[in-house]
C-alpha cells in the first residue's frame, strides 16, 4: 500500500486565519490512492482545517497541495468546481436541505455534471434519477426516496448525505466528524458504509474522528494533529493505544 502513487500530497502547507490563528503549520505528507485515513487530534487541533484545504473550501497561506499530481492552488471557476466534483464531503451536521425531499437532496450531488439552467429546471436525465435510487440502495434507504429530509433520523440523514456524495462519482471522500452526533449503533452503520465504499469502489477516504476506538477499528493509517502540526503518522499495524493517548494527553498538559 505504501508504494501506491499518492492521490493527495501536502508539501509544506501553512494556514494562518485572518485573525492570526494558526490553523496548519508546515504540514507535509502523502495520501496513497485507496487509503482509509483517519485524522485524530483534540478540538481546535486543525482537523477540519486540514480537510477543507483539500477541496479548497479553505485557502492555504503557503505551501502546495496536489490532487492527482496537479497543484490545486490556482484553480478558479470551472476548474475549481471540477476539483470539488471529484471530492465528496460529509459533514457532522449532515447539511441536507431540510425542506426538500430525499430524492432532491441526493440529486443535488449531481448538479456539477449539468449546466446551471438545467439544474434550475430540475432536468436530470433518467439515468441519473436511476443512479439516485441506486445510491440510496447502497445506503439502505430507498424506501425514503420521497420523504422530506427533516423527517429522517440523524443516522438516516447522514446516509442520505453519503448517497448525495456518491452521485458525484467521487475519487475522494472527506468526512468531518461524520458520526459525532450519532448513537453507537448508527455510528457503526455510517462508518461501515464509508469503509465499504473505500473497499468496493476504491474511493480514498479521509475521516476526522474524535473516537480513538473508532479510529483503530476502521483506519488503514492514523495521523495526529496538535496545534496545527502533524505530530503522529503510522500505519494501523503500528499504532498502539499509548501512542493515541499521548496525542490527546500532551495537549491536555499544555492547556
Amino acid at each position: 500500500m505504501e508504494q501506491a502513487t499518492p492521490i493527495i500530497s501536502f508539501k509544506g502547507v501553512n494556514k494562518v486565519y485572518n485573525n492570526g490563528t494558526v490553523g496548519l503549520k508546515d504540514i507535509s505528507f502523502d495520501i496513497p490512492r485507496g487509503q482509509f485515513l483517519v485524522v485524530v487530534g483534540l478540538s481546535g487541533a486543525g482537523k477540519s482545517t486540514l480537510l477543507r484545504t483539500i477541496n479548497r473550501m479553505h485557502e492555504i497561506t503557503s505551501g502546495e497541495i496536489t490532487v492527482e499530481d496537479e497543484a490545486i492552488g490556482d484553480y478558479k471557476g470551472k476548474a475549481l468546481r471540477l476539483l470539488r466534483r471529484k471530492i465528496g464531503m460529509i459533514f457532522q451536521g449532515f447539511n441536507l436541505i431540510n425542506r426538500s425531499s430525499v430524492e432532491k437532496n441526493v440529486l443535488s450531488g449531481r448538479v456539477s455534471y449539468y449546466a446551471t439552467w438545467k439544474t434550475i429546471l430540475g432536468l436530470f436525465s433518467k439515468a441519473d434519477k436511476e443512479k439516485a435510487v441506486h445510491a440510496l440502495e447502497r445506503v439502505n434507504l430507498v424506501e425514503k426516496l420521497y420523504t422530506r429530509a427533516d423527517e429522517l433520523s440523524g443516522g438516516q440523514q447522514q446516509r442520505v448525505a453519503i448517497a448525495r456524495t456518491l452521485m458525484q462519482d467521487p475519487k475522494i471522500i472527506l468526512a468531518d466528524e461524520p458520526v459525532a452526533s450519532l448513537d453507537p449503533l448508527t455510528t457503526k452503520t455510517v462508518m461501515d458504509t464509508l469503509k465499504r465504499l473505500n473497499q468496493e469502489d476504491g474511493i480514498t477516504v479521509i475521516v476526522n474522528l474524535h473516537s480513538v476506538a473508532l479510529a483503530r477499528e476502521y483506519a488503514d493509517r492514523i495521523i495526529g494533529l496538535r496545534a496545527g502540526q502533524l505530530v503522529y503518522d503510522q500505519p494501523i499495524a503500528k499504532v498502539t493505544v499509548d501512542d493515541l493517548d499521548q496525542i490527546y494527553q500532551a495537549e491536555g498538559e499544555k492547556a
Binding site: 470539488r84 465528496g88 464531503m89 449532515f94 425542506r99 426538500s100 448538479v111 456539477s112 439544474t119 448525495r164
Partner: protein
Amino acid sequence: MSTPTIPRRSWTQRYHVKGIGWTVLLLVLLVASAQMTGVNVGMFFSNLGQFTNLLVRMSNPAWDYTAVIIQPLLETIQMAILGTTIGAAFAIPFAVLSASNLIHNRWLRGLTRLFLDLVRTLPDLLLAAIFVAIFGIGSTAGVITLAIFSFGMVSKLFYEVIETIDMGPLEALESVGATKITIIWYAVLPQILNQFVSYFLYTLEINVRASTVLGYLGAGGIGVFLQRSLNEFNYNQTAVIILATLVVVLVIDGVSNHLRRVLL
C-alpha cells in the same frame, strides 16, 4: 487544579455604559423633538368635538352607493396585486445582492443597500404625484407607484430573511462543485420561500390600504371616489367607501393569515 482566569471585562462593559448612554440619549431626543415640533397633546383632546361631529355626519351610510364602488374597489385590488408582484419580483435579485452571507464583496453589497435605502426614502405620495403627471390619471400610475414602494420594502425584508438561513446546505452544495446560482436555487430558496410568501402577502395587505390613498392623487382605484365624496361633503358615501375598504382589507387579512398558517 488552579482557579480559572476569567477574562476581565473593561470598565465600559462592567457598568453598561453603552446601554445606559443610548437610553438617556433617546429620552433626551424624544423630549426635545416634541418641544421643537410643537406637538400639543392638549389640542388633540380639545378638538375631539369636531371629530365626533364628522362621525355623526357619516353615521347614515348611503347603501345604494355600494353598487357604484364595486368596480373601482376591484380595480384597487388588482392594482395592489400587480404592484406587489412586480415589486417583489424585482426585489429578489436585489435581496440576494444585499445579503452579507451570500455576497462577500463589501462594495457590491454596500452599493446595493444604498440604492435600496434611496428607494425606500422616496415617499409614495411623491411617487404617485410624479407618475400621475407622467402617465396621466389612472391605474398605471398607481401600479408603478405601488411596485416601487413594495420593491423598497420587500427587498429589505427579504434580505433579512436570507441572512438568517442555515449555511450548512450551502456549504454542502459548494463542496459538490455547484455554481453560485445553482447553490442559491437549491440551498437558499427552499429555506426562504415560505417567509417570502408571507412577507409578500403582508405587503399586499399594506398596498390595498395604500392604494386607497394613492387614488386620492388620481392614481386610480377607490381613492378617486373617496376624494370625490369628501370634496362634495357626501359623508354618507364616504362612510360606505370606508366600510367597503375595511371589508376588503379584512378579507385579504384573513386569506393571507390562512395561507401563512398553511405554509409555515
